[in-house]
Symmetry: D3
Subunit: 130 residues, 6 copies
């Protein structure tokens, strides 16, 4: 599927593009949205979800970008690592912070398999009191 | 493989257990370490790595626990979600924060596949020193 | 490993190539089979399985191509997305259908992690009556 | 996190529950929504997305349930296999159809790795627009 | 889907069961085959493939069981870890060997993500016939 | 992140590079280590773990390389497949052996999903006697 530029986009797609640009203060939306616009319903839902969850909440925006980056590295999404890595830097992430995110990603992927391989039973202390 | 308790552990394993207990100020190590002790070399390496990386660094300890939790949820490691969820709470994570972590995990897993499915090319702006 | 062309293939490999070309009515097999031919036993097994399962059955061939595409997008296999996307189009899939497949893939990858993260217990109503 | 029942749910959560019940013609929402309600924003977004994409579109609803099931089997989400398997049956899927879905899932997971392992280059014929 | 026992199985399924029992010298097939028998075509293909590839070849049978176990641990298939762990033991694997397999699985899952996260370019020396 | 060459590396990084070169008898470390050097603590931990576990132990070094390759193919790490494929060849792996590894990887990825999809219960015979 090709990227859909603003000029050739439907009204519904342009509305999402406009909101994205206004929310982020950018001149153009990035390639992810231009491709997702091939499915205008998903474009609207994904944008609405990200705008909401990645905005103000219980966690600060930088922490959420780092979590997004960590999941993207686990799933090997090169585009997402590039875009959320750039977003993290724009929100103040240093090289040291990004390297530490990757280190945690590496360790978690290792211990996730070790815990599953050994079939480790959950400790009583970790069970919610509920 | 069975869990290896302190009483029946080798000297090398006990040394790791002792350091874990002293570092974390706990009376006993959790089930993960007791199972990993079946491979004493890995026990020592994994503990040394986690002690180092999850300790003081560029990111605060809570952020690193949340990243660990996010990767564990992506990989569906129930044990790791329980242990790092408990660790995150011990370091101050609220229900709202944990729910937001899961929300970001859900979104990232969705957009990771969408970006890969559409084969979205990386934007020039995301390229380092571009 | 290099692709193995018909001219330099063993008799066993040529037999699979011939059957593939006759079954699909094509002049040459695609690159996947030419690489898999490095392991002639797997070539024969994989071809026999696909010919059988992707042929007439309980589901129509297009539905099976879309399912194949959805799994390939989940696993990030660019080659498989290209080949099964092309196969789906050849069997009548429109752009709208492929975009909708990707949308479902995105949603499923999101809710799969959310269901696992929350450890949602299976509803009684979903359990087979068995 | 505990399931949130209607009686103890916020107004926003109840509104989603009401819409889910009305849309599906059921007496109660299933456990997935009751757990996701711990993050009311995600509850609303996920429900809105699923209602829209899994409803009328380019593909018939049963096909989309089968795709959802296939992705869930690939990701090993037991809850999602149970819920979307039940939904597929409710929409007319036979045992033969579900077994064939699993067969395709198995084959795709096999050939996805083989294509990646051999680094198979995409055939010219699979490339869009020539 | 329920397990299909010999008594209630079709002729085609019984033929596979008989061959499995004769090949392995066992009194009954294990649960995997009894469930896969719900899709008799896949039962036949999967059995034929495994009998062939896991039998005599370039690698000894134990090495192949250990590889099977390593992939199963990476994918978190508890059933497959149990069955191929047992098969490995039956072919001579010691506790030390199985623990070392898990250790390698852990390391590989860690470095796989680190290599992808850093986007490490392939060294010239690793390229075939370079 | 850029690769860090010996000339511009810190003392701690040079020490790892030196040990890697001495252990492996090579003139330079490969690109993986040069990128991982951006996080000197992980560089040291990952190197120490690999040197130890991939060295002499319960399994011969070639078997461990093949397991590493199998996990890397499952996770689709192109760099790791290249580096561990080369290492396996250096330790004596033939084309036939590598092709058989890929065949086992394909089969395991198929049956892992089938076992999970059917929710196959673990046979009594596979349970450890513990």
């Amino acid at each position: 599927m090709k990227a859909i530029e603003y000029e050739s986009a439907s009204e519904a797609v342009c509305a999402v593009y406009d909101d994205t640009k206004a929310t982020r203060g950018v001149a153009d939306v990035n390639n992810f949205w231009k491709h997702l616009a091939n499915e205008p319903r998903m474009l609207a839902h994904v944008w609405a979800s990200l705008k909401d969850i990645m905005g103000p909440g219980a966690l600060d925006p930088l922490t959420k970008e780092l979590i997004y980056l960590a999941v993207s590295a686990t799933n090997n999404c090169a585009y997402c690592m590039a875009s959320h890595g750039a977003a993290a830097r724009a929100k103040g992430a240093s090289d040291e912070m990004l390297n530490e995110v990757y280190a945690v990603v590496g360790l978690a992927n290792m211990t996730n398999r070790l815990a599953n391989a050994y079939g480790v039973p959950v400790d009583e202390a970790f069970r919610p009191e509920g």
